[in-house]
Symmetry: C2
Subunit: 395 residues, 2 copies
């Protein structure tokens, strides 16, 4: 187990009608003037925005609103938010939506207190500041885990780049999680969210640390829970209990309780970011394609860990005379599961051809030593091989 | 899943030398004048106290010290601490020790800001206040989970009563967890700690809530991890990795991440408190006796849950033609495990006779409706039956 610090201070309020507590929570956390930042029209049409606004009014909180976030949060929107926060003397941002809405709120919360341009933080031009305005969330899409995490990802649409940053000061002060708000999510978006939270878990699971037994069992338990409940929400989108399991799993998959004592990998996320940057695919769908390809490429690095994964998550009975086959069987069942919830597992399923694989491999964000990932340190050539595996229908 | 709020804001700093960060953390959390509150002579002799003091001096922090806590923290000590805090204008308490030291620090942190007597909170005479001085911890005994919990237990030695309170404001601001500090723990104390953290998990596990799948798997994973690592620390007390698993499990067993969405039982803790109140036994040893007896008494209330426990925690293969037998087999293996680490499973193992069982059953702290526990609502007569089971060598 490696040394670690863990402080997940977010107050989670979970259950039916949780969004109605927004005003009360903002008051508790000292908001004076709140920006309610939400996504598309669905929050307006469903009545969610009205309920949140009513809750703020009832608590006597001042606020202003801004809607219109698209998936894969764009830098231009973050800049607009920052201008608005300054003009309106905002001191608290309440994000009503999914990961994109929350991530742009987080970026704005830090950017508004910074003199330069917010992209400086993401391109490495400036160190990320240790202060940000507080952020609260009303979650509508369980997926990114941004409602409890210290991380965010922003897309620079001009440069076709998607970049992430993790820092404690952007962890939300509170998050209101009502599983009922997810009943109306389309099946495709539900499935993308499921892949995303599984990926957050698997990125942490595949580590070279030995003796991370407690967190191993928690990762495995979270994956099993999501796998067991996914068909239920696909069959019946209004199954409260199944939606609740998935919503709570999404938050716990990324607040980093699963990362304690471990060094996660995160190469798959970097590889996926290039897909989104170039092709604007859904993050979860991109991960469903990249992650199995990454697994096949690195599996021989630690067959034992992949066997453990196969057995404990997918009930693969180990073949002690051919451990590698057992390990590969785990990856096959993961793909099978992704397929069962309507997710692609090859680039072709995202309508992406093989023509820009080299370009993507060249653009993958590397660490200072010119490599990416921790479980196996990958060169750009390795990345290209993984993209090729992801593009190969016959693999 | 029941609605819940969860906010575990404690900053955990985990790893070798964690105690040396005490000064830095106190500074971060705004301490001006700290009381270092520690247990017996072991913290002095081992050099731990010196290292902590040096860390405070290096950070330029003012402090005063008070040692001498006995197991099962006593009200008289809490009162002494409160007087000292007021006299010395203390604004932060750093507890260096196990659950007893931390619990008395928590009680003093709240009591020092209260005009009346601190026992008022525990006997129900006054509602617990919403403010307390901040508390930090340097943990030396993984057991009570007090380093990350919102709860504490104090013994009123005059009235032979042990009472607990849970409230958010006493959750530690930070906790420094160095597994090396536990290398010198005697085997008996290590075992008591293991039982205590398992009990915290099992109290939450046995619930009437359906659809608590994620937390079920996490409870089971924690129990398995502790069971797997217990013989390792018994065999080799300086096994860093095994000590680390157990230390982190102890913290996670009681910060209530395992209680999210569930209603825990907690009757066994109330039943055990009467043992400690009358006989001053070690809390963990008391739980090892009470909990299996409680299980046998309530098992038929939900055979399915006990079967799940038996299979997933102890690898009991279900006998589908006799589920009750499978369920009982789980309890038998739990007792077997307790025995394997040197814990008693009957009152006689604590040198307690059957002469005061009625008195204990009469004193068990009941809820307003005259019952205790949530999985099964127990009357004082039920409590007496459980004490009798615990006292019966032949059961």
């Amino acid at each position: 187990m490696v040394d670690f610090s863990f402080c997940s201070y977010t107050e989670f309020v979970f259950g039916r009608g949780a969004e109605k507590k927004a005003g009360e929570l903002l008051k508790k956390y000292g908001a004076k003037r709140t920006l309610i930042h939400y996504g598309g029209r669905s929050a307006e049409k469903s009545g969610l925005l009205s309920r949140v606004e009513e809750s703020l009014s009832d608590a006597g909180m001042e606020y202003t609103t801004l809607g219109g976030v698209q998936p894969n949060p764009r830098l231009s929107l973050v800049r607009r938010l920052i201008t608005l926060c300054r003009e309106e003397r905002i001191d608290f941002i309440l994000a009503v939506g999914g990961g994109s809405v929350i991530d742009s709120a987080k970026a704005a919360a830090a950017g508004a207190l910074y003199d330069g341009d917010v992209w400086d933080f993401f391109c490495g031009k400036a160190a990320f500041p240790k202060i940000a305005m507080p952020v609260g969330t009303v979650l509508t899409i369980p997926a990114a885990g941004s409602e409890g995490s210290d991380s965010m990802v922003i897309t620079n649409e001009e440069e076709e780049l998607k970049r992430g940053v993790s820092i404690q000061c952007i962890r939300p002060a509170f998050s209101l999680l009502n599983p009922e708000l997810t009943f109306t999510l389309p099946a495709y978006q539900t499935a993308c969210g499921i892949v995303d939270m599984m990926a957050h878990t698997m990125e942490r699971y595949f580590t070279n640390e030995r003796h991370v037994e407690l967190t191993d069992t928690w990762c495995e338990g979270l994956l099993r829970t999501v796998i067991r409940n996914a068909p239920k929400v696909m069959e019946n989108p209004c199954d409260y209990d199944a939606r609740a399991e998935i919503m709570w799993a999404g938050a716990m998959a990324h607040n980093n309780v699963l990362g304690c004592g471990r060094v996660g990998d995160w190469a798959s996320h970097q590889l996926e970011h290039e897909l989104t940057g170039l092709y604007d695919v859904a993050h979860g769908a991109g991960l469903a394609v990249v992650m199995p390809a990454w697994m096949k490429y690195v599996l021989r690095h630690d067959v034992a860990r992949f066997c453990q994964f196969a057995e404990r998550v997918f009930d693969v009975q180990a073949d002690y005379f051919d451990m590698e086959a057992s390990a590969f069987e785990g990856v096959r069942r993961l793909e099978q599961f992704f397929t069962s919830i309507g997710m692609p597992t090859r680039l072709s399923g995202l309508s992406i051809g093989n023509d820009r694989l080299e370009e993507m491999a060249r653009k993958v964000r590397l660490q200072p030593d010119g490599k990416v990932g921790n479980f196996v340190r990958l060169t750009p050539d390795d990345c290209l091989e993984i993209y090729r595996l992801a593009g190969d229908a016959k693999q």
